[in-house]
Amino acid sequence: MRQPLDSHTSRPNNKLKMRRSTRVSIILLSIVVIAAIIGPELSNWQPEDIDWDSMQQGPSLAHPFGTDLVGRDLFVRTMIGARTSLTIAVIATLVSLAIGVPWGAFAGYLGGRVDQFMMRIVDILYGLPFILLVILLVVLFGRNPYLLFAALGAIFWLDLARIVRGQTLSIRRALFIEAARSLGAHTGQIVWRHIIPNVAGPIIVYATITLPSVILAESFISFLGLGVQEPNTSWGVLIADGTATMESSPWMLFFPGVLLVTTLWCCNTLGDRLRDHREDIQRKPFNI
């Protein structure tokens, strides 16, 4: 992570002092990610397999997380759900980076009327009930998971654009930018080669804050039955199933719920720690 040139933001203490909560959350998050990657392969069951002998059974040796109403193994389904939820989160975050970073960098670098106009658009969009618009999109264009990724990413770029613009404003008059311009570099080159690499620090920090928000948003939408669809599954879908049957089979709510909460907690904690080291980034109000 390169330090930005602005003296206000560069601080001598560059090391992330590891607090216990930081270490715990890194370890837990790694476990969740590894589980999402290799977990489904560890199980003897396929996510769509039906065990006719044990329907709606609690955790056992054969089914560590129990089974659902139709006898599908919940361990493998929870792991697949983790895979789906995390993939959507990562892709949506990348989409938000792809829109927000150039938007903010160009607005900040070009300045003047262009800047005002671009940021005015961000201001206007900021006030919208975006999750509702995403649901509207999903309703209108069918429940395509790729659309969900894109739509979620399209929500979260707004904050990113603001942050990148703020950072860009602080370096647009720097000497090396001046030098690049006098050597004949055009705007695109300057933004791409000189500005974006120098504001990468805050961008990375902000991306870690965005991840849990996306996970949360996806689980809300899927919970309402408007996101990921059967037979595919995600944490939101599993929690919705678990909620429907929580009186008779609480484990169906317990395992996906615990995984979701753990992941959110780890991401929040890591985001906070990183942000503590960069006071130039405001915390997002909280989810969504």
């Binding site: 006030g127 509207l136 959110l264």
Partner: protein, 295 residues
């Protein structure tokens, strides 16, 4: 404020018209002349700008159009039926979240660095990570099914609103507590607070007159964006607790592809958010003398 609203409405209108498939695509294809009649009845056969003008004209008169799916109702009636419940729930949750959050924030902020502070903040951080879709079912399980203290769902009495209100308020209270604590710690260092201490003011006067108004500024500006997510949260909470608010209509409309209903709900929500943001700005100016005096 007006521009934002106009943008939303236009965007929503454009999205709905861009969508593939009409509202009358069912399992079975309708005969062509019936479909044509239906389209004519709902003015879907007119040019797009006429439809837009018609919709905007209706909106100016407060008319959101007919529901495509529920034949005997128009969107106004459905929303009028749900709005009191949703608005009441949202307001109650907001007030609960403010009291709870500011209370927790004060308790932690004035004991900064002590064990109590760290314990409170650890619980609070866990609360931030607990999504409504996990907490709300758990609350139903514990307080309605196991303890039988409160009803699990429905909207018959005031008691039916206790669990939904708390479920909706919890994540906000966590965020507000965090902001309050940070605000208090920061305000403590301000010169005017030092002056107040030096004057020998009583502790309660110091807290409520000199520290809190400034410490709460971040909380006030948080309320603007929070309003938007409060509505989203209420969609989920209404679903879980079976409350017939507009969030329920929204989800039903979304599942049934009832375009006009969904559009209507989004327009109402956006109007609510924009109005709320406006009042948040006013409150901000009122609380901060620096902003108030500069105008």
């Amino acid at each position: 404020m007006f521009i934002t609203l106009l943008t939303v409405i236009t965007l929503v209108f454009a999205l709905v018209r861009l969508a593939p498939g009409g509202p009358f695509d069912g399992e079975r294809r309708l005969p062509a002349d019936i479909e044509a009649n239906l389209r004519a009845a709902y003015h879907l056969d007119e040019a797009i700008y006429l439809q837009y003008a018609r919709y905007m004209g209706g909106l100016l008169q407060g008319d959101l159009g007919p529901s495509f799916r529920q034949k005997d109702f128009d969107v106004n009636e459905l929303i009028a039926a749900g709005l009191p419940i949703s608005a009441g729930l949202g307001l109650a949750a907001l007030i609960t979240a403010l009291f709870l959050g500011i209370g927790i924030g004060i308790a932690a902020g004035f004991n900064q660095g002590t064990f109590a502070d760290r314990l409170i903040m650890a619980v609070n951080n866990l609360n931030i990570a607990l999504p409504t879709i996990v907490v709300a079912p758990l609350m139903v399980l514990i307080f309605a099914v196991l303890l039988r203290w409160l009803p699990a769902g429905g909207s018959d009495s005031i008691w039916h609103f206790v669990l939904p209100t708390i479920a909706l308020a919890l994540p906000y209270s966590a965020a507000i507590a965090r902001l309050t604590r940070a605000g208090i710690i920061e305000t403590h260092l301000e010169p005017h607070v030092k002056t107040a201490i030096a004057k020998g003011l009583s502790r309660s006067r110091l807290i409520f007159r000199h520290i809190l108004p400034m410490a709460l500024l971040p909380v006030i500006s948080f309320l603007g964006p929070a309003a938007a997510t409060l509505l989203t949260g209420s969609v989920v909470v209404e679903q879980i607790f079976d409350l017939p608010g507009i969030g329920r209509y929204f989800v039903q409309g979304a599942l049934n592809r009832d375009y006009t209903l969904v559009m209507g709900v989004v327009v109402v929500y956006s109007a609510a958010i924009v109005t709320f943001n406006f009042f948040v700005d006013l409150a901000y100016a009122w609380l901060d003398p620096r902003i108030r005096l500069s105008q």
